[in-house]
Amino acid sequence: MEFLHAMTIGPIVEIIEYPTFFMEVLIGGLLTGVMYSLVALGFVLIFKASGVFNFAQGAMVLFAALTFVGLMEHGLPMWAALIATVAVMIALAYAIERLVLGKLVNQEPIILFMATLGIAFFLDGFGQTIWGSDVKPLDVGIPSDAIDVGGVLINWFDITAAVVAGLMVAVLAIFFQKTRIGRALRAVADDHQAALSVGIPLKTIWMVVWSVAGIVGLVAGVMWGSKLGVQFTLSLIALKALPVLMIGGFTSIPGAIIGGLIVGAGEKVAEVFWGPAVGGAIEDWFAYMLAMAFLVFRPQGLFGDKIIERV
């Protein structure tokens, strides 16, 4: 009985009774969701442009952030480190194309997925070999104090993240929908061989996409890194991005943001108001369950490309 109450009426009453607290949780959740979106974006980019589910995205986030702080620790000024890191990510994209993807053209998605796993392994080892496994604090000057808006605490840091993510989504969405390269990218995702046959240079395309994904990874890495310090664990935030992808759809850039908002708000509200009744720490599976519920109604996510079923 008590349990039922805690699951049903209790949380509702609480929400109504303390609306500011609810708002705080909601806003906090939405802003956290945006942070997830930053990571999810990298996945979407690569999936949309090559049909590859890039398991290495987390590793790329980590690697980019590590390189960035590592260079700063070696005395480079921030802007120089940033440029150098971008260069490194482009070089990485080049290497990945040359050594891995270029040799696996036209393979099934799961094989490419596995190959990106190989990349992830390699990057994890490589990054740590070069930069070590210590925690590296990162401060790029984003203010982290909280401001009080009508009794609701909002963090400057989160707001910055939201703005950054919003900008990136806008730019990338336009790039994909409106430009020639964007169209070519989507073509590649559908059919590697046909794309080759009409003269789309797969190599260049993949280079571009992986570079962009690397740079998006760098942004995500810098944001998360300034939040948590740069360390190995950073690669695990990829797991938080997956339900976002599911809800938004693997192929939709705006979907990554909206999915992030839904996941963030959903999991935080659930954790805060429903979690205590069942012992807490429900946010992880809650995000996935929520995503699954969405998928049952829309198997391609909210904004994902239609799954074409024809005979």
């Binding site: 050594l99 696996l104 596995m114 390699f122 012992g279 996935y288 998928l295 079923e309």
Partner: protein
């Protein structure tokens, strides 16, 4: 030249339907059996039996389970860890709740319980496909682990949520769990168990059930149109697969680790098993073993190699290099043969068949 089926005629379908219709394959299998039951037990050290063979076999079993679901029925899943945990905890509850129950029955029942749970989580697969499904099965992974972590009943209210296997013998004094069980007895039990189950899996996959799975995998719409019931088929794949994973989880907890916390079956385990079947070969029982060897044994080999060679390389360097080599090897093998080690093996056989001619 060495590998020719020419001249081996089958006079009836029953013979042609045999598991290993070709003589060379049969010889190879006898060889494997001799190695498994004679050579390894006689010459294997405790370390080799207990720390290489045991986990290798148990994970192979889990890989077979996942291969049934993903490789044969085409349902990509990342819930393996959760299902293994389910098996482990079910076995723990059963064996502590009914101390007199034979441990083999316990394992089979915990597999059955996991099969049920698997079917529950398989239901969304009727709508959700591909990578979406893979990510959706993570819901099972996280939920199950959370459940075992959160509900103290599953761990008999232990302080830290760790379960540990009670000592059990399969008959008389032949202990396979607990402090009195030797590595050898554990090994013999597991190897028998795994071989029997691999055989069963092979049988299922080459019969009607297996064909239905593969049909759904290769083209689900067409499969339905030719009369295969998608729901039944997918759910049966989830059931059988989870059964295998559940049993593997129970074996892992009881025979290999001896004591586990839910974290032993976290999402990394799920990924690990998935990697095994991809690198080993989707839709191949033998590939499950090869993949398990590759993903589980190889890193150990890489990391103990410097020690064996007497080189003193700092462990962190070894770990990092281990990661890098694993990554590179995965990519290398995929480029050489995207369809896994099992296919590499078949291609090699095909070459042998043509030998000494190149084509």
């Amino acid at each position: 030249m060495f590998y020719r089926e020419a001249g081996q005629f089958k006079t009836n379908y029953a013979k042609d339907q045999g598991i290993f219709p070709i003589l060379q394959d049969r010889i190879w299998i006898y060889f494997v059996l001799v190695v498994a039951f004679v050579i390894i037990p006689v010459f294997g050290t405790d370390y080799f039996l207990g720390s290489i063979m045991l986990p290798f076999l148990v994970l192979s079993l889990a890989a077979i389970g996942l291969n049934i679901l993903t490789g044969y029925a085409g349902q990509l899943s990342l819930g393996t860890g959760g299902f293994m945990a389910c098996g482990a905890f079910a076995a723990y509850k059963l064996s502590t709740g009914f101390p007199d129950m034979n441990i083999i029955i316990v394992f089979l029942l915990s597999g059955g319980i996991t099969a049920f749970v698997g079917v529950m989580f398989g239901i969304p697969s009727l709508r959700i496909k591909g990578f979406y499904l893979a990510v959706a099965t993570l819901a099972a992974q996280f939920f199950l682990l959370w459940l075992f972590n959160r509900v103290p009943w599953f761990t008999n209210y232990s302080d830290s949520g760790v379960i540990s296997a009670p000592p059990r013998a399969i008959f008389g004094d032949f202990f396979i769990t607990g402090p009195d069980a030797t590595h050898l007895s554990k090994y013999l039990f597991v190897v028998t168990f795994v071989i029997l189950f691999a055989l069963a899996a092979k049988n299922i996959t080459r019969s009607g059930t297996g064909r239905n799975w593969m049909a759904i995998r290769d083209m689900d719409i067409a499969a339905e149109i030719i009369g295969i019931r998608a729901m039944q088929t997918k759910l049966s794949a989830f059931a059988v697969s989870s059964f295998y994973c559940g049993v593997a989880g129970a074996l892992w907890a009881f025979l290999y680790s001896g004591s586990v916390e839910p974290l032993s079956f976290d999402v990394n385990r799920s990924f690990q098993i998935l990697f095994m079947i991809i690198i080993g070969g989707l839709g191949s029982i033998m590939g499950s073993f090869l993949g398990a060897a590759f993903i589980m044994v190889l890193p150990i080999l890489i990391s103990s190699l410097p020690g064996m060679l007497g080189l003193s390389i700092p462990v962190d360097v070894i770990s990092h290099v281990e990661f890098m080599i694993m990554g590179a090897l995965i990519i290398f093998f995929l480029i050489v043969e995207p369809h896994g080690l099992a296919r590499l093996w078949t291609v090699a056989k095909e070459k042998l068949r043509l030998w000494p001619f190149p084509h």
